[in-house]
């Protein structure tokens, strides 16, 4: 990534005088937008690297106290920080608990893959589920759920659907235990224990084919 130069800020603003045979250390923080902190699925995944690598350059303008000869000083340093990837949500199965035209109760199995080498916690997530391009149900899950690093976990969500304004064919297909094209979208609140970032919102919009059983 190539980021624009920014003036360093600290408790003692520039300019300042540096006495003979002394040195001064200045703290700085170069702000990074969230897109550089969390790898979004639709963005550049950046391969399998576990760290973002940075090459930093500092430049200071220095002149003699009598006002002569401005000199630009430069220093370089390499840096790295851990990549944080969004979890991946996939519906693996849809199970019919009660098949009726007015109220059909489903149990949707949601798999959450954590591609990170460290655990992530889902504080809550809000979702919308579409089947065969039609809205089926929405909801909010508030139970905390931890997914350990580089593992996946499954979560079952109970749904109540009403097929009264949908094609009979869809209900028949589901009752006949066939697969269904789904779209699962929403937002999850993800917590990580990184110190500098506590939590972030992960939007997901997954489509696929889920078995109905």
């Amino acid at each position: 990534m190539d980021l624009p130069s920014k003036e360093i800020f600290d408790g003692a603003p520039f300019p300042f005088t540096l006495a003979p045979h002394t040195e001064r250390t200045i703290d700085f923080l170069y702000p990074l937008e969230e897109r550089f902190l969390v790898d979004r699925r639709d963005g550049d995944a950046g391969g399998q690297e576990e760290f973002h690598r940075l090459e930093m350059t500092a430049q200071l303008s220095v002149m003699a106290d009598n006002g002569s000869a401005v000199q630009i000083l430069g220093a370089r340093e390499e840096a790295s920080y851990p990549r944080i990837r969004e979890p991946v949500f996939t519906i693996t199965a849809i199970r019919i608990l009660q098949a009726e035209l007015i109220n059909t109760r489903f149990l949707v199995t949601l798999r959450i893959d954590n591609p990170n080498p460290f655990p992530v916690d889902l504080s809550s997530f809000r979702y919308e589920l579409y089947g065969d391009r039609r809205f089926w149900a929405d909801g909010l899950v508030k139970d905390a759920l931890r997914v350990e690093g580089r593992t996946s976990t499954e979560r079952q969500i109970a749904l109540v659907m009403n097929f009264i304004d949908m094609k009979r064919e869809l209900l028949d297909r589901i009752i006949a235990l066939k697969s269904v094209d789904y779209r699962f979208k929403g937002q999850a609140q993800i917590s990580v224990d990184m110190g500098y970032i506590k939590e972030f919102i992960s939007s997901f919009d997954q489509s696929g084919e889920a078995a109905v059983n």
Binding site: F14, T17, Y30, A58, L60, A75
Partner: protein
């Protein structure tokens, strides 16, 4: 005056002249103090140190330090800095 005296006087005079000339030719005039030349190795040094990712107020970003060192016998003015 004896006839050999002028020749002796001339010889002694020539000797002093030669000695003076030799002395002037080989002695060095007092040298004024040379101006102090600042070589590139003596200019201020700059070091950049990466600490990690940090938080300041609401901003999250790359945190580190920049150290500027003045090895010169005169004060320096640091105008501005950029990362």
């Amino acid at each position: 005056m004896k006839p050999w005296k002028p020749a002796l006087a001339q010889g002694v005079g020539l000797f002093f002249c030669i000695s003076l000339f030799y002395s002037c030719a080989t002695s060095k005039p007092p040298t004024p103090p040379a101006p102090v030349t600042v070589s590139s190795r003596e200019t201020p040094l700059l070091r950049l140190h990466y600490v990690g990712l940090g938080r300041l107020d609401r901003a999250v970003g790359v945190q580190g330090t920049v150290t500027v060192e003045n090895p010169l016998p005169e004060a320096l003015r640091v105008q501005k800095g950029e990362i």
